[in-house]
């Protein structure tokens, strides 16, 4: 008997399911994904339903009730035995291609921590004038770039729409939580590549507070379905969207047509900078941490590093660092292996491209994985920023001084996002000032590149604030005020993930040998 997973969610009391047709997609192992075929009439009822519930319930409960419900829903997900998490564990690796270890460990245990009640970004609107220099916020620092010029303002959005990209798990949950904090009804288009988690998370809210959940509709529809898309835009006060260049063009057109403001988070590039001070006896620890950034989500995120700039002049040279990184990639890949979508072709492409360069005598050295799970390339031929083939393919490039980097990346400034750093305190602020000026928005300690802290801006805007105001200020953050302390904590976290996994492997090996002996 197979298992059917609903990829949609809305108030079941609306009684619209009877009038809908559904499609069923077999994803293997007896699992099928059930998705509705929407009509405008049904969508209208769903949108009216979330608006009604907002008016009658959400607007009349106190923020403590909202926070409490979010906290309880999140607690459910932190429990490995929670039924929603069990379903997700079974289904998500099949639909996303990520490994179960990645989904469980990096996804649930760490990424979902962003929306823990105590981490929520509830500090209101910041005054840019108070942040002309990097100034404390949360446990890090932020700085405001640019002059305020409000292009959109609505402090009472009734309906907020979200179009989620499929590369990272969990965005749908983040969006639901943000909207509830500002009393908005929510519709979410879940990605075709991963249509499962959004509905599961909404159901977990339903378990703790059904009426709060009924202000949410999770709507799986194809990106090319313009009838549905246009109808939903026409009913929204603002739409937040994540996606690539094609999504940006298509959605901006619809937003213009219906005069709906769009808070877009589009294609971005991220990279790592290692200062020479950390390329000493700590270099292997730094490599350990960097390997986690490269492995997390198989580099599919906008915050995943595509290049590493390593400064010369340390006791460990950039090429030696590349070798250390290769060793750590192997260990980390055992703890967080790739899933079914291994991108082997991309890894092989990278391998042959750089193998040729190495053979031709270019200052290039490749450090491959025996099974093509990952690839580290030392590339001393150019310092130009080049996109990675992804899937754990990373280049290490030497730079004489980290302050040369802002100039190198300036041409792609508007596409820059996260910069993973291992830079000592006294050099970090001047570097952050310059890289922020070049266009980067999030400066994070290495190994935390894919772990946004809830107080941090996202692509230069605060995730809550941008839902009611767009003001042209670009906020740049540094995720810590004490990088050495952050590195120490990150190392503990990284080792706990790896150790836990490797212990499990050992246990499984023992069991396997015992079974073989018994036979």
């Amino acid at each position: 008997m197979g298992k059917t997973i609903d990829c949609y969610f809305w108030n079941p009391n609306l009684g619209v399911e009877d009038g809908l047709e559904f499609t069923y997609e077999d994803v293997g192992s007896g699992i099928e994904l059930k998705k509705p075929v929407f009509t405008v009439e049904v969508l209208d009822k769903i949108i009216e339903g979330i608006k009604q519930e907002r008016k009658e319930y959400l607007l009349n409960i106190g923020i403590p009730t909202v926070l409490d419900a979010i906290g309880r829903a999140n607690d459910l997900w932190m429990d490995p035995k929670y039924k929603g998490r069990k379903i997700a564990r079974e289904v998500l690796p099949k639909v996303t291609g990520f490994s179960v270890e990645m989904v469980e460990s990096w996804g649930f245990d760490h990424f979902l921590g962003i929306i823990k009640k105590e981490n929520l970004p509830l500090f209101g609107k910041l005054k840019p004038d108070n942040f002309k220099e990097f100034t404390k916020l949360g446990d890090g620092l932020v700085k405001a770039y640019g002059e305020a010029k409000v292009s959109h303002s609505n402090y009472n959005p009734e309906v907020i729409g979200h179009i989620c990209a499929g590369n990272i798990l969990g965005i749908a949950a983040f969006e639901m939580v943000m909207d509830k904090l500002i009393d908005a009804a929510t519709w979410i288009k879940v990605p075709s590549e991963e249509p499962v988690f959004g509905a599961l998370y909404a159901k977990s809210i339903e378990e703790v507070d059904p009426r709060l959940a009924y202000t949410i509709a999770v709507l799986p529809f194809e990106s090319g379905n313009n009838v549905v898309k246009e109808f939903l835009f026409s009913k929204s006060d603002i739409v937040r969207a994540t996606g690539g260049e094609q999504a940006r063009r298509g959605l901006s057109e619809v937003a213009d047509k219906y005069k709906v403001p769009i808070a877009g988070h589009w294609h971005k590039f991220s990279f790592i900078t290692i200062a020479r001070e950390y390329l000493d006896e700590r270099a292997s620890e730094i490599a350990e941490l960097v390997s986690l950034d490269v492995s997390a989500w198989d580099q599919q995120g906008c915050f995943s590093p595509q290049e590493i700039f390593a400064e010369t002049g340390g006791s460990v040279s950039p090429i030696e660092f590349a070798q250390l990184l290769a060793e750590e990639m192997e260990t980390t890949s055992r703890a967080l292996p790739k899933g079914s979508n291994s991108g082997k072709m991309q890894v092989l492409d990278g391998y042959y491209q750089y193998f040729k360069k190495e053979m031709m005598g270019e200052p290039v050295k490749i450090f491959p994985s025996a099974t093509h799970q990952w690839l580290v390339i030392y590339d001393g031929a150019t310092t130009n920023f080049e996109p990675s083939p992804l899937f754990r393919v990373i280049r290490v490039k030497p730079v004489n001084d980290i302050m040369e980097i802002p100039k190198l990346v300036k041409p792609i400034g508007k596409f820059l996002q996260t910069v993973g750093v291992a830079i000592p305190k006294d050099r970090l602020i001047p570097f952050a000032d310059a890289i922020g000026e070049a266009g980067a928005t999030n400066i994070r300690t290495i190994s935390s590149m894919t772990l946004q802290k809830a107080w941090e801006p996202w692509d230069g805007r605060f995730p809550l604030h941008e839902l009611f105001e767009q003001d042209n200020i670009r906020w740049v953050s540094i995720d810590t005020i004490d990088i050495d302390k952050e590195i120490k904590t990150a190392l503990e976290r990284k080792r706990s993930i790896v150790d836990q996994r490797l212990q499990l492997d050992k246990l499984q090996e023992k069991e396997h040998s015992a079974m073989n002996l018994n036979h």
């Binding site: 106190g62 923020i63 403590p64 926070l67 105590e118 509830l122 500090f123 209101g124 609107k125 005054k127 402090y155 904090l181 500002i182 009393d183 809550l464 604030h465 009611f468 105001e469």
Partner: protein, 133 residues
């Protein structure tokens, strides 16, 4: 009817808050004093500042600040938004999250005390007021 903002209003607020048993219960762990700053807008010409000392469910002091005064928390917003709070049209915590008010001090501590904040508003809303402008 008392005028808001005024010395008389803050005096009544203190009396009423100290009669509020629910507040006493939900704010029993709260320790900290506030400056409530009403900033001018179309309807209010000059900034008004109230000092309110809240301690374990009790209001120990509350008055209109005439000179300079410091407090652990400064909760600030325009007069029109204060009016909405007094009329129970705006939850101050929601106002804070949306940026309609700002706070100097750890906003997380205030948000953890959201139930106490609600009771402050419930008390405020029971005082019949005459608004400036």
């Amino acid at each position: 009817m008392v005028r808001f903002p005024s010395d008389e209003w803050i005096g009544i607020f203190k009396e009423e808050l100290n009669k509020n048993k629910i507040y006493e219960e939900v704010a029993k762990t709260w320790e900290g004093d506030f400056l409530f700053v009403v900033t001018p807008d179309d309807e209010l010409k000059k900034e008004v500042v109230f000092y309110v000392d809240l301690w374990h469910g009790e209001c120990r002091e509350a008055y209109l600040v005439k000179g300079k005064r410091k407090a652990a928390f400064v909760f600030k917003g325009p007069y029109s938004n204060w009016k909405k709070v007094i009329n129970k049209e705006l939850d101050p915590i929601r106002g804070l999250i949306r940026g309609m008010f700002t706070v100097d001090g750890d906003s997380k501590i205030i948000i953890d005390q959201a139930k106490a904040a609600q009771e402050l508003v419930n008390t405020v809303s029971k005082i019949p007021v005459d608004f400036e402008g």
